[in-house]
Amino acid sequence: MVEFLQFTLGGIVFGMIYAAIALSLVLIWRGTRLLNFAQGGMAMLTTYIAIEVIYKTHSYWAGFVIALVAGLILGAASELTVVRPTAGKPELNSVIVTIGLLILFEGLAGIFFGGQYRSFPAAFSVTGLKVGGTPLGVSRFDVFTVAAVLATTLILAVLFRYTTAGLRMRAAAFNATVARLSGIRVARVLTVGWALAGLLGALAGVLVTPSTFLYPNSMDAIFVLGFTAAVIGGLDSPVGAVVGGLLLGVGLSYVGGYLNSDLTSLVALGVLVVVLMIRPNGLFAGARMRRV
């Protein structure tokens, strides 16, 4: 019974990381109808930037903040330079372009930072928390991880719903032509969307890298599961992203604990197939198109 609790709590922590990646993908999808395969690679780069800042300034929080800022910049820059030109061209081109970005980022990281593992600090203690002598299987840092992702999600939700900027973004995603006619700078809105996604990815990066160690491919597996979570939840739904992430995190934790760690990706595939068979657009898909 204690193990069940430990598996569950541990799964929630990883689940929130997947949720953060999933959210960043949802942000970009809603705004630009594109899949950003480079999301994990961007998160890896911003985490490298963070570790360099932390070493130079001996301040974790400086690195943390700089990573988030770097995420904003990197997201915006990617959209402006490389993704914007693929607008109007076959959609798969943007997939290949973002894959190209991913490969480019990994190669650059290998060149500038080296391919060796780097240890990345956690914001708080990693010693486990206990309740009455029973270890819960989570640490203060894990609690911070969950809280940080939830807080960022809420802030973004508030941003979208209650601010003019958010209204503009929703309008542009809903109907770009009408939005343009209303005076909204749709292009700028798209860039902002990518920037925010970059921030989310950077957050996921600094939160998960203590557990993966930092090296050019460290975010690859996390990205795949984040993408899966987004698909499970429905690419149009931020709520779906969080739910999908938690589902995946906790589910895979049970598989690793009760079955065999070999089976985790197979089980993830199984979950995905089951969900998509029932709801082909994810759990929280919007209304389906009426077929004539």
Binding site: G10, G115, Y117, P121, F213, A221, D262
Partner: protein
């Protein structure tokens, strides 16, 4: 309609032929071995084999330089290169310089097959040196043996390299995982008799062979849990929780350094503090300390990661990295001169040590060696060099070092406990104490030619 279609096919055909033609023309031909008369003290140096010219010996390797498996392992080849550079600067091998060409295979067996063929068929290497990885090297071993290319000192502890009848060109070097498991297992049986033991192992040939060796020694009644992990999934919390739930007081881990560190972190998270025994592969104190250092700083004090590695039990077949060891002094000198920026850790030491063994073998092979001269030289037995135990090399045994000593990590260094132990890969083969002594590093840093 048809005309334009035909035009397209023709255009494509021309393109195809052109491209294939270009590919053919651009193929770099084999390095022609021109004979030259060098005025050397003894016989003249000739191009006695593919890859050997009067001035150079070209060897190749496949290594994971990029990709998820690269961290850690990618240090080995530059370390070997550093030692070869040192030898080249000090007379080379009978005056020839060693040219070490290693190519990235990203730990992908398909790519390994490709780069090994490139090295043999296009770059005309004399031998394949220190090919890294079990699944990767398995993709190369048949080809190397059918082409009769010496395949020396494979960087993998699989016992599958010991197949003199099917793979006569292939030789291991490091301690194989089954023997290692036996040595670790015996230590646990002797020092923790009656305690509950749990295994944590990588679910591939490395971990599985290690477990085989452990099971040869540790009574089954002592083992309460066996948990495996895969390198693609870093969330090992469930496995650690399962180990804790089983009540294991001793954990034996056949894990790579990253997962040893994760295991330690997972134990911290659960407040679980069993005795940790780790395979040599995953226990290098410097690597582990580096991985854990970000977490050791937590308490606010400026401790380094060593605090978290103290007390880890492990085995070693190379000397400890301490200033009192002659090999460490030698390798540090070369490291500081040729690769000062690389960390001088277990992987670096490994790379230099295996390069040293290769130089010993080449010196033994003679002034104008053929490929067969190299394999015969190894089969005739090699001195143990930096290894703490003898090599097994003979015409019937192609495995490398036969033993190791047990040690406990203290303050970032492995402190030896007891004598060197040697054994074999069979389930019932005994573990015996090695009564010979360690060799000292030669003053010149280069093995003598008369071994």
């Amino acid at each position: 309609m048809k005309k334009s279609q035909r035009l397209r096919w023709q255009a494509a055909a021309i393109m195809t032929s052109a491209l294939l033609g270009v590919a053919a023309c651009s193929s770099s031909g084999s390095s022609s071995s021109s004979s030259s008369t060098s005025s050397s003290s003894n016989a003249a140096l000739t191009a006695s084999a593919p890859g050997i010219t009067p001035t150079t010996i070209t060897i190749g390797s496949h290594q994971p330089l990029t990709g998820p498996a690269a961290p850690g392992y990618s240090e080995i080849a530059p370390a070997s290169t550093a030692y070869f550079d040192y030898v080249n600067a000090n007379g080379g091998i009978y005056g020839r310089k060693i040219v070490y060409k290693y190519l990235d295979d990203g730990y992908d067996p398909t790519k390994t097959a490709s780069v090994v063929r490139q090295l043999v068929l296009q770059d005309n290497i004399y031998a394949l040196f220190n090919g890294l990885g079990t699944p990767t090297h398995l993709a190369a071993v048949s080809f190397l043996n059918s082409e009769k290319v010496p395949d020396v000192f494979v960087a993998s502890g699989c016992e599958c390299w010991n197949a003199p009848s099917t793979y006569p060109e292939t030789f291991g070097w490091q301690l194989d995982y089954i023997s290692e498991g036996k040595i670790l297992g015996q230590y646990i049986k002797q020092h923790f008799a009656g305690e509950k033991v749990g295994y944590f192992y990588q679910n591939d040939e490395f971990g599985q062979d290690g477990v085989k060796g452990l099971d040869d020694e540790i009574p089954a009644s002592m083992v309460v849990s066996k948990q495996s992990y895969v390198t693609t999934n870093v969330n090992i919390g469930p496995q650690v929780a399962a180990l804790r739930a089983s009540g294991a007081k001793v954990i034996v881990s056949f894990s790579i350094p990253a997962f040893t560190a994760l295991l330690k972190l997972g134990m911290l998270k659960l407040g679980y503090n069993p005795t940790l025994t780790v395979s040599d592969v995953g226990s290098d104190p410097i690597t582990l300390g580096g991985l854990l250092e970000a977490f050791a700083k937590q308490a606010g004090a400026t401790v380094n990661g060593n605090q978290l590695t103290n007390g880890i039990i492990t085995d070693e077949y190379l000397p400890a990295l301490s200033a009192s060891d002659s090999w460490y002094v030698l390798f540090k000198k070369i490291h500081d001169q040729y690769e000062p920026k690389a960390p001088l850790d277990g992987n670096f030491f490994y790379g230099m040590a295996v390069a040293y063994t290769f130089v010993q073998a080449m010196l033994k092979a003679g002034r104008n060696p053929t490929r067969a001269d190299l394999t015969n030289a190894i089969q005739g037995g090699l001195p143990q060099g930096p290894m703490v135990a003898p090599f097994a090399y003979s015409s019937t045994n192609h495995l490398g070092v036969t033993g190791a000593y047990m040690g406990i990590i203290q303050n970032g260094v492995v402190v030896q406990q007891g004598s060197v132990l040697t054994t074999d890969t069979t389930a019932t083969g005994p573990i015996t104490t090695y009564t010979g002594s360690e060799e000292q590093a030669p003053a010149s840093g280069i093995p003598s030619a008369s071994s």
